[in-house]
Amino acid sequence: MHTSARWRHALMSLFPMLLACFLSVSGCSGGDVDLHVGKNVVIYSEPSDPKSLDPHRAGDVVSSRNVSNAYEMLYEYDYFARPQKVVPGLAADLPEVSEGGRVYTIKLRKDVYFQDDPCFPNGKGRQMTADDVVYSLKRFAGLPDTTGWWTADGKFEGLNEFRELALGVTAGVKDEVEWIALQRELMNRPLAAVRKIDDFTVQYRLAEPFPQFTYVLTMSYYAVMAREAVEYYGKRIQFNPVGTGPFRLKDWNFNFEVVWERNPNFRKQVYPEIPKDFEAVDGLSPRESYQPFVGKTLPLADEVRVKIIKESQTAWLNFLAGNIDFSGIGSDEFTAVIQNEDLTDDMRRKGIILKKYQRPIIEYIAFNMNDKKIGAEGGEKAKAIRKAFSCGMDRQRYINDFLNGRGTVATMLVPPSFPEFDGDYTYKWSQFDPEAGRKILTDAGFTLVKEGDIWQAYYDKEKKEKVQLTVLCRGTSTQSKDMAAFLNDSGRRVGIETNAQTMQFPEFLQRQHEGTGQSYNAGWVMDYPDAENIMGLLFGKNAVDHGVNSSRYKNPKFDELFNKMKLLNPNDPEELVEKRKLVLEMHKILEDDCPWATIYFQKQYRLNHEWNAPNAPNDFFYGDVKYFASDSAMRAQRVAEWQERPLLPGILLVGFLALASGLFFFKVYRQE
């Protein structure tokens, strides 16, 4: 053997050695996840960092849920009540409403202290008073870049003027010290919208009666902040939340993890009694499962770790491994998890619990009533097109094929989880019946022809002008493309040549705001459980540019009923009866005009591990993290049980690589 060959052989043996080292080292490293035994630690994942922890600024879901850990609002939602009900948070009681529903006098709790923070004298959190509530509304109204101004716009007495003034004063001021000083001057201005009566009583004055006001006060834009903290931290307040909430921020590693720990200054709050008329509906667990927690001090968890995991596969695998406590189901995993609308045996063996609940999100087609062809101007013919198109949509098939069954046909505009929902009623244009749709068209004088499998309607006997419809679809995701295909197909069934266009979301919104589309495939996430929120989308006053009434529907009769309906409180049994009646009457009007074709309500599937305290999903309530708990010992035990590192695949793999490299180097040797 040459000396040179020895060199090469040394190199050759190096490779399998390195490989073996690599695999064995890595084999030891797996699964060393901190299990937090002995502490009650809740771990869940979000797909992105919170945009901001400033409650008055950000309103997206991730931010809201995180913000609600640190801050509290005057009101929150009852944990168990379905349909959802508002209960006092920082307020001592429900508001006292006077002057025909325009003045809300609210008593505050006296046991609320801010968390300890260097911004306070001696670093001790001080008591929250009416001044803080007044200050918070002013600060919110004065923020140029809040996403939540729509919740207050025009609703308070004098608040719009205050905002104009505030924006005028602070416009273009870039120096932070100066900005804060100007803000300070502003905050000293008296404001009609909210006034301090005494240290623990505030009074809101509204521009007009607004019975849904307490719902608005549950939103994080109305969180109570301390003036000292805002001035102490300036812009950095969004990274240093100082609130009265159940948790305080322990650590925020951007792109990785947000850690919350129990706030020792949190007011005394205990897990609520389970109501007598409790029913395990809409995502609630059986009564017994909540029983062990009743009377325990909130928050239940010592620590909440929010992992930022962008990739859905990674989140899912972490959930399966027990590193994350709860999870949704991605479309990739759906068939492996759910069979026949229930968990697969594999999942059940792992002790995973499935929860299904209704989300207050409606998907619909809004026809533009200002359009010449299909709008109000088109008269009976246009009406027929709108109705026929609604008949052509096989909604159940869409739900089954594209949503894995996670939806229910929208038989009303009001979601099933709302008190105003009526199960006996079906909106006439929510049912799939292409034959009826075609009949509507022929009755209205259209010429209907079957071309192959496709129906086509014409305005005239000579078949010159086709009946066409353009639908704008929001977003360019797969889901949006599926929807576009579904709409095109639906139109063909009844003879309407449909052109569904997918577009970027901002562009879609722009078109919708300006009212330049023929029809829109729109979605609406309800803000609070009151039919006013959804029916307002068809209210005549909102039928303006940038208004929420994107179909620009105007019907004085509908508006009159709406004005009556919106003043009724759904939590009052007597008023509810009246309200339901009015909502039905409004639907009857819509049946005649058909400005919308409803499609479906979203349904959510959520998975929990058995070591989680049973939760009560509620899409309106972001402050429910304080009710979360995890049995860390049980988690550790389960993770240990599930831990199996089969040696065989590893051995096979190393063996294969060793064999391959052995053969390879043997060849090399032979070549010598």
Binding site: S26, V33, A171, N253, T314, R645
Partner: protein, 477 residues
């Protein structure tokens, strides 16, 4: 050599400026600030005012010609008023009738305050406070209350007038009974004092000047020029050259964002790069040495196979099997210091496997090129040992194209890997560029481009210096 280095560094300047100019054109000309503002404010239906405010806050807008004209006209009027004995209110009314904006709630335009403050060498706030102390303006609560009282009284008066006309008084009248302050008489115009000739300053006057929101918005917005290209370019270049990177859309300083993701990305990418280069050179040497034999063919086929597998599929499969099903590795995660490597082994392994095919083929060709050279044949003929040829001569010459390649790859290592980082939960910079572009986050994107350019310039310079060190034939002059 030093001359060369210095000259290259001087060349770097125009290069950098050129890149800055090009990116400026791409960012601004293709997507003008106003359009971008509308896109960012987006969902909420941006109004003209919101857009102008965004532009002003982000230094894109300045006072327009019409804005300047308005200011001039105002000065003229106030000067006249001082001599004619007119009250400030008269001036304001005149301005209002001419549809001229006065852009500040203080009644003095912001620019005037700013100019005055600059002239006196004070901050705007100091100036305001000084005015307040001098009794020129009133910033106290009392003044604000007086102001409110005045307006309420005015409202009452209007209602009374309505009632006099025989109309039913509106409901609000009854609601305001408890506001005793409202009964106070209206403050007369003479109550207001003026700091400059005839300029009225009192909180709350904004409503007086522009009565409805829409008027106010239009007036405010029209005070700005859309943008001044020259100034925009100047700001763009000077900001970057002074390392003033600004804030992201989420209001985090760009430097902080880069700083927090820098190490995680490097921790992942540097070992991955080194290991991949080592193994690829190793295999490439065999393939080149035994060119045309089964060894060569096997290696080339294996390389092509590896190149054909999609990286995403590779990541998903290996993560699923190695980390989830067989639990040899953690699924995802990160830790401080060296402990991070328990989480990083699998992504590094995947990087090596995924990039091996491409690298082996590339390096094989480099080595083949050298092996075919005359000097190798001569050395062989002289009886020089195989290893001496390989390591002393061939590998050394191969280093030149390799350095060229590394000079391209290494500057990008700090940006991490988008796929690996998001699948393995590494808090690096991998998705930063994508996120920046998707969110229209100008400050972030321009900083990344700028830093990328600098690193690239330095890397190519370093590569040139290395050429000279590796290859004595190369003279840097």
């Amino acid at each position: 050599m030093w001359n060369y280095v210095i000259r290259r560094l001087l060349y770097a300047f125009p290069t950098l400026l050129g890149v800055l100019f090009l990116t400026f054109v791409i960012f601004f000309a293709l997507n003008p600030p106003k359009k971008r503002a509308a896109q960012i404010i987006g969902g909420k239906g941006a109004t003209e005012l919101q857009i102008m405010q965004w532009l002003a806050d982000n230094d894109f807008a300045e006072l327009s010609e019409s804005g300047h004209k308005k200011i001039d006209r105002r000065k003229q009027l106030t000067d006249e008023a001082a001599t004619n004995g007119k009250t400030p209110i008269d001036v304001l009314k005149q301005l209002q009738s001419e549809n001229i904006a006065i852009r500040s709630a203080t009644g003095t335009s912001k620019d005037e305050i700013a100019a005055k403050a600059k002239a006196e060498g004070k901050s705007q706030l100091e100036l305001l406070v000084a005015w307040h102390n001098a009794g020129l303006i009133d910033l106290t609560l009392a003044a604000a209350e007086k102001d409110t009282a005045r307006k309420e009284a005015q409202k009452k008066k209007e209602e009374a007038e309505k009632a006099a006309k025989g109309e039913q008084p509106e409901k609000e009248g009854a609601d305001k009974k408890d506001d005793a302050a409202a009964a106070e008489p209206a403050a007369k115009p003479a109550d207001f004092t003026d700091p400059f000739a005839g300029t009225e300053i009192a909180w709350g006057e904004a409503d007086f000047i522009a009565e409805s929101t829409s008027d106010w918005e239009v007036l405010l917005a029209s005070d700005y020029a859309e943008y001044n290209w020259g100034r925009l370019l100047w700001n763009y270049v000077t900001d970057l050259l002074t390392f003033n990177f600004g804030e992201t859309n989420e209001k985090r300083p760009v430097t902080e964002v880069l700083g927090s993701g820098f190490w995680p990305s490097l921790k992942l990418m540097i070992p991955a790069f080194l290991i991949a280069e080592f193994f690829s050179l190793f295999f490439a040497m065999f393939a080149a040495l035994y060119r045309g034999t089964k060894i060569d063919r096997t290696l080339v086929i294996a390389s092509v196979l590896l190149m054909s597998i999609s990286p995403v599929a590779m990541i998903m499969f290996l993560q699923k099997f190695f980390a989830s099903d067989w639990q040899y590795f953690p699924i995802s995660g990160y830790a401080e210091g060296f402990a991070a490597y328990q989480y990083l082994i699998l992504p590094i392994f995947i990087y090596v496997v995924v990039s091996l095919g491409d690298r082996v083929r590339f390096n094989r060709i480099l080595i083949l090129d050298e092996v075919g050279q005359d000097y190798v044949r001569t050395a062989r003929a002289k009886g020089v040992g195989q290893n001496t040829i390989l390591f002393k001569h061939v590998l050394r010459n191969v280093l030149i194209p390799l350095i060229t390649r590394w000079a391209v790859i290494i500057p990008n290592l700090y940006l991490g890997s988008l796929l690996l980082e998001s699948f393995f939960g590494v808090p690096g910079l991998g998705d930063l560029t994508l996120k920046g572009v998707l969110n229209l986050d100008l400050n972030l994107v321009k900083t990344l481009v700028f830093i990328g350019t600098i690193i690239y310039i330095l890397a190519t310079l370093l590569a040139d210096v290395l050429y000279a060190i590796v290859d004595p034939r190369v003279k840097l002059s």
